[in-house]
Amino acid sequence: MSDSFTPVVAGSALGSKAAPAVTPKNIPNRGGPANPSAQAIAQQFAGAVVRADVIWGETIVVVDRARVHDIIQWLHDDPSQRYDYLSDVTAVEFRDLEQPIEVVWQLRSLPYRRFLRVKVLLEKGATLDVPSVWDIYKGADWLERECYDMFGITFTGHPDLRRLLMWEQYAEGYPLRKDFPLRGRFSRSEQLRQALAANPEARYSKEELSIADAFEDLPAEMKRRLATGERTGE
């Protein structure tokens, strides 16, 4: 039985004189009070900020891909920022194919009760590759895997970047890309055929078995299945 934890209170860094949080009302489309972190990033990382906007009350900072990991690390560590909570990692592709793909990090600072959106623009034709923030936030694990699965964006530094929602050998592509049709690339019977070709009893992916030291002791049947590269359907 563990000892009791001391509660970590959101808003603790604001002090007792701070105004209580209220429901935002009458938010303008553009403009309005910006999150002070946007200014702080521009000061700390000169030249890394491409653009900073306030859209519907939310501050969005578009930064350089090369420095985004450092910026997020600084946002996490710096005592005046303390963005300790990662809400989301996702990507946006626009219908207008000239526009770049945006990779979006939504960060919250619980002690300061702030919300910030950090973006990186990946120009069309560039490799879809951004640094992973798994070393800063463990919660980024599955969020980045899903982004890879749906968009094909590689997160360098992620310990285990595999498909998460589709099965590992999914051949149709990256579903949330705009050039991926809604109903998929293959015909329904072909999709069903590919899905049914997986053997649910083959059970374990190569990744899982590579970590088990007892490969030699596996039954011959299973070793044969692995050797022939049989699909596990996950």
Binding site: P175, P181, R183
Partner: protein, 206 residues
């Protein structure tokens, strides 16, 4: 194509040629079977919650003999597929069906299990009847508990009219060994085609 041909029923129409003892025996066996179906809820999504509500005290499945819900397919006779089935889950559903011993029946509960429902996209099987043979389709999104109960009563009626002389009833449908499909691909494509309004909903933007 390699598919096992759909067997022709060997059963003769009930025209007085059936021996009395066989019909009585059939009635007795069917009465026993229909009143003691052990459902296996293959519950995936929202319909599973309505199934749980049907099994709970207000709508009570136990009064139909379905008190004991089997979660192991080996011990079940009724597979209730409640919820949407994506392609990743399709081989699992096929394997669960194959693991069930005869006699077995299947209820496809909800719009998504019956036809893909509102999920006409890359990820969802457009009706589980392309994977496993279905006896009763219960429409609804999700079907009300009364709807599911009506479907179960329809299945009971169907079981009531089974005849032991009809050998085709208990034959296991074998899929084509190369493609694992037991319906020709052209038929699957045809029934999965969007129709009505959803034909126009492939436009993104405006």
């Amino acid at each position: 194509m390699g598919l096992s041909p759909r067997p022709e029923p060997t059963f003769k129409e009930l025209s007085g040629n059936e021996p009395w003892i066989t019909t009585k025996l059939d009635q007795f066996v069917n009465w026993g079977r229909k009143n003691s179906l052990w459902p296996m809820p293959f519950g995936t999504a929202c319909c599973a919650i309505e199934f749980m509500a049907t099994a709970a005290s207000d709508y009570d499945l136990a009064r139909f003999g379905m008190e004991r819900q089997a979660f192991s397919p080996r011990q079940a006779d009724l597979l209730i597929c409640a919820g949407r089935v994506p392609f990743k889950l399709a081989p699992v559903l096929r394997r669960i069906w194959q693991q069930m011993p005869q006699p077995k029946w299947c209820i496809s509960m909800g719009a998504c299990a019956s036809s893909g429902g509102m999920f006409d996209n890359y990820a969802v099987v457009q009706g589980i009847d392309s994977i496993i043979p279905v006896d009763v389709y219960v429409p609804g999104c999700p079907p009300r508990p009364e709807g599911l109960l009506y479907g179960i009563l329809m299945l009971q009626k169907k079981i009531e009219h089974e005849r032991s002389g009809d050998k085709t009833l208990r034959q296991e449908m074998e899929p084509d060994p190369t493609t694992q499909l037991y319906i020709p691909p052209a038929v699957i494509d045809e029934v999965s085609e969007p129709f009505g309004n959803s034909v126009h909903q492939t436009r993104s933007g405006l």
